[in-house]
């Protein structure tokens, strides 16, 4: 069961080949069997999963089920889930049980017709407050890459990808502020999509950098991703930055022809720094697209080299503000025995936040400080505008932009933890899409030394359907995405 696609699972449930309860139990058993090695879940919600599965079975029997009713998923632990610990990978929220559901949790898990009726298996591990590219900053310990347990799965959605790659969940939610869906998808042979900023509600998703954060999906195929993204997307009156515009039919769009699709290849994404093995695979993928009838065009995104420094001003600035609420007063970690208010703040935050989070709060506080604001924050906003203009210009001539997702394959756990800047460079190809607000995805395009490599597709605003279509057509012609890690068959 754990190797079936979402469409196959849905068909199986409808044909009564298996019940939602059996399906949930299968995955819960696999979690029990394998997650000791992976550490992909912070919380496993077995009891609740079976209750939801029973409700799904009832809905299936009553004929009130939605397309995804009864299909299990893992929720990244950044989404508030009522009655379930929502830790965001941090000691700060180790004791925090959310009293409400994030909008996307309701959309995915509420019974039909209010929601999609999916079954939550548990809360996936992640970098603390989504700050990291290796899942090593989690208070709950690093997540292992199912393709090589000595390597990182990428981050910050490391738990989400490890769980799906190892077949512990058919699909998982994830979030992406600078690449946190795409880079881990690339490192674990998954298809991950970050939609247009504003396409999916941020309500109930614990904020890291509000103007960059966007929720999405990691799945084993573009088709699976399309089903779940469809159910998550849409306007939410509780999120002022969500966009009131109808959601395209992603699933229906999958099968369209991509003949004549114009793909742009930004020269900045193929410059030095890209692993030669990965480059070879991406060049092969380009050939594959040409074979499918797409045309390729050399383009330039001249402001690309400024993405990482711009991001590391904007994101920490917003984070330093968003994380100010974690003060030990109303919920979360509170230091014991503090004698003054100031001591309570300092110690609660000092004890509750890990080193990377503290580093980013300090950077963010610095760049927003009186006398530095113009030189950093304001300047970064201007550069951000330039990055957006680059894409705007590109999409006047091409439909999609194609390039690498990551600089190479998964690296060894611990190999970059002492060098934050080297770690930050992991996101060199992914950050621009967040700064511009455009949708982007990663999909598997081969292996180097047995480790997966992903390629990235970026599209214009609200072109998710076209991107998923292009990814699906590629996946119909290739079988990289069908490979799964040994040991988790």
């Amino acid at each position: 069961m754990h190797t079936l696609s979402i469409a196959e699972l849905a068909a199986g449930l409808r044909a009564r080949k298996f019940s939602a309860r059996e399906l949930a139990q299968t995955f819960l058993d696999r979690i029990a069997q394998h997650d000791g090695a992976l550490n992909s879940f912070i919380s496993v919600t077995a009891e609740q999963a079976l209750v939801q599965a029973d409700a799904a079975d009832a809905a299936l029997a009553a004929g009130t089920a939605a397309a995804l009713t009864g299909i299990p998923l893992a929720q990244k632990d950044i989404f508030c889930t009522q009655g379930v610990r929502t830790s965001c990978g941090s000691k700060m929220l180790d004791s925090f049980v959310a009293p409400y559901n994030a909008t996307i949790v309701d959309k995915l898990q509420a019974p039909s017709p209010q929601g999609a009726g999916m079954v939550m298996l548990g809360k996936a591990n992640m970098d603390e407050f989504a700050m990291g590219s290796s899942n090593e900053t989690s208070f709950y310990g690093p997540v292992k890459n199912p393709w090589d347990l000595e390597r990182v799965p990428g981050g910050s959605s490391g738990g989400s990808v490890a769980a799906v790659a190892a077949g512990l969940a058919p699909v998982a939610t994830a979030t992406d502020t600078g690449g946190s869906i795409r880079q881990p998808a690339s490192l674990t042979n998954l298809t991950g999509i970050k939609p247009t900023y504003g396409r999916v509600s941020r309500y109930g998703m614990i904020a890291f950098a509000s103007s960059l954060d966007q929720a999405g999906v990691v799945a084993r195929s573009a088709e699976d991703a399309a089903y779940v993204l469809q159910a998550m997307s849409g306007f939410d009156p509780r999120d002022s930055t969500s966009v009131d515009r109808p959601v395209d039919d992603y699933v229906a769009a999958l099968n369209g022809s991509i003949k004549g699709l114009k793909i742009g290849l930004p020269k900045e994404y193929f410059a030095e720094g890209l692993d030669p093995g990965a480059r070879t695979l991406i060049e092969a993928a380009i050939k594959q697209y040409e074979a499918l009838g797409a045309t390729v065009h050399d383009i330039s995104l001249p402001s690309s080299p400024l993405s990482v420094p711009t991001y590391y001003v904007v994101a920490p600035a917003e984070a330093s503000s968003n994380l100010a609420r974690f003060d030990g007063v109303r919920y979360g970690h509170r230091a014991e025995g503090a004698k003054t208010l100031e001591e309570l703040y300092k110690r609660s935050r000092g004890e509750g936040f890990g080193a990377e989070v503290q580093r980013r709060i300090m950077i963010g506080t610095y760049v927003l400080s009186h006398g530095y604001f113009d030189a950093y924050y304001l300047k970064a906003q201007k550069v951000r505008r330039l990055i957006y203009e680059d894409f705007k210009r590109a999409f006047e001539t091409v439909d999609l932009v194609l390039g690498p997702t990551a600089t190479g394959t998964a690296f060894k756990i611990g190999s970059k933890t002492d060098d934050p800047v080297a770690m930050y460079m992991n996101d060199i190809y992914t950050i621009a899409a967040n700064l511009a607000g455009i949708p982007a995805m990663s999909l598997p395009c081969g292996f180097v030394d047995g480790l997966p490599v992903g390629m990235q597709l970026m599209g214009n605003f609200f072109s998710e359907a076209r991107m998923l279509n292009a990814a699906h057509q590629y996946q119909l012609a290739t079988d990289f995405h069908k490979q799964s890690p040994k040991g988790f068959k």
Binding site: F96, Y100, M205, A207, A209, P237, S321, F326, D327, L368
Partner: protein
């Protein structure tokens, strides 16, 4: 009577006021929680107000509408596009660790308000800006030992902070400005104006300089002075203190001070060096607010008649004195009451004005009531004045009927009937009474006829007494003259 303490002094004060004005919306500025005053602690704080992880603000459109309403009423500019910014500081009653406010692009800017001074002259005070923001919660230090209670009911209550130019020169001008502003926001229905509950709060920026000096002195900010009287006292204290410090060779420190109403003094709370770096930046959770010309015009079209215009109209249409017109337009409710009285009776509007501004207000003052809880409705008062107009009763009898109405004895007509107060206009009955009086008072008749005109009053009094005051005074005068001279 208040005086400018710096009158004829070589010093002058420079004062600017910041007024925090709670908007009368149904719910909070960024959440759906209610904003009733006085609820049990933390019963009006939802997930958004508690700043739970993951929550997001959604702007209450009514708060925008009220801010624009205010802006238009002070001839201010309304920003086509304004932006919310986060103002950061740590305090337990500030759940997010930042307050959502406006910084570089406020919704209202460059307005003005004209005040009247005691000598009758007017002065225009500039309004620099008015920006939208959320209120913080309350820290409660009483009733807890070794702990502080936090009540977040107030957190997220919509405010406009109205910042004046440093155009004010005396405590009296400051009070006049505040009163005018207070009347205006209450008139507009933007704020309930309740100073005791903190709906209308003032911070005063005060500095002093030698009269004629071009540069401002160093200013202090006195916080949260919550009555007009305290504002006057706090500013006067601060002016006096600053002059004393400077004349004693000291310098003024830029600092925040707190007014103590018991001692009438201000004391230093924190100096500028301790001030937070608020690290303002545009709130990425909220979109810029765009006010289109159509939106602004629609609000302009629905503005109520403002005090000034109403006053002018009352003077013109009803022939009222400037004093009466000012009194009767001091609140929207009183003005509406007066207009109902005029409309519902055929009495002279000036007579109506006298009754409302003198008799009725005296009753309200005495019983501590407001016009909207008046024991006599506007229609009921109109009923009484109608009986004066149609000569059913005299003005003098009307006072008695009014008293009876206040006492709850019923409507004017019921009382007039029950007490048999209908004016005697039947001339034969009046002549009969006159004849009796003349017959009983031969000496006075002789005196009057010999030229003692003053005795006329005696006869009027006697006739009125004989008719229990009900005789029509005009008829009595006329008929008495005829009889005495005849």
């Amino acid at each position: 009577m208040a005086h400018d303490i710096l009158h004829n002094s070589e010093w002058e004060a420079v004062i600017g006021l910041e007024v925090h004005c709670q908007l009368m919306t149904h719910s909070k500025i960024f959440s759906g929680a209610a904003i009733q005053y006085g609820a049990e602690p933390n019963t009006q704080a939802c997930a958004v107000d508690l700043a739970l992880p993951g929550v997001l603000p959604v702007l209450n459109e009514d708060a925008v509408r009220k801010a624009v309403t205010f802006g238009l009423s002070v001839d201010a500019k309304i920003a086509e596009r304004c932006v919310f910014a986060r103002k950061h500081y740590f305090y337990p009653d500030l759940p997010k660790g930042y307050q959502i406010s406006q910084y570089e692009l406020p919704i209202v800017y460059e307005g003005k308000l004209t005040i009247e001074l005691e000598d009758g002259s007017t002065k225009t005070i500039g309004i620099t800006r008015a920006h939208l923001e959320e209120d913080a919660g309350k820290s409660m230090h009483e009733n807890f030992s070794n702990a502080t209670g936090i009540d977040l009911n107030r957190a997220g209550t919509p405010l406009i902070e109205i910042v004046s130019e440093p155009d004010i020169r005396t405590a009296q001008e400051a009070v006049a400005y505040l009163k005018k502003l207070h009347q205006l926001v209450v008139y507009l229905g933007v704020c309930d104006g309740n100073m005791q509950e903190g709906s209308f709060r003032c911070d005063a920026n005060v500095s002093v300089r030698k009269r004629g000096a071009a540069k401002f002195g160093t200013r202090t900010e006195t916080k949260n002075v919550n009555s007009f009287r305290y504002v006057e006292k706090a500013i006067e204290y601060e002016i006096g203190r600053q002059i004393e410090v400077i004349e004693g060779g000291g310098t003024i420190r830029q600092e925040t001070r707190l007014f103590n109403p018991d001692s009438g003094e201000t004391r230093a709370m924190r100096s500028k060096e301790d001030a937070n770096d608020y690290r303002y930046f545009p709130d990425p959770d909220l979109l810029p607010v765009v006010c289109t010309q159509d939106y602004i015009d629609a609000i302009r079209g629905s503005l109520p008649e403002l005090p000034e215009a109403k006053r002018a109209r009352f003077e013109k249409d009803f022939g009222l004195s400037p004093y009466d017109a000012k009194t009767l337009t001091s609140s929207r409710e009183l003005a509406a009451y007066y207009e109902t009285v005029v409309k519902e009776s055929a009495a002279d509007p000036k007579l109506c004005a006298n009754w409302v501004s003198t008799d009725l207000l005296a009753v309200l003052n005495k019983s501590g009531k407001e016009i909207d809880t008046s024991p006599i409705s506007a229609v009921a008062l109109a009923g009484l004045l109608q009986r004066i107009a149609d000569k059913t009763i005299s003005g003098k009898i009307a006072k008695d009927v009014f008293e009876a109405m206040v006492a709850g004895e019923g409507g004017a007509d019921d009382i007039i009937k029950a007490k048999g107060l209908v004016q005697i206009t039947d001339e034969s009955a009046i002549i009969k009474a006159i004849d009796e009086v003349i017959a009983k008072s031969p000496e006075q008749v002789a005196g009057y006829r010999s030229g003692k005109d003053k005795l006329f009053g005696f006869f009027v009094g006697q006739v009125m007494k004989a008719t229990q005051g009900k005789a029509n005074p005009d008829a009595v005068n006329r008929l008495l003259k005829e009889k005495l001279l005849g």
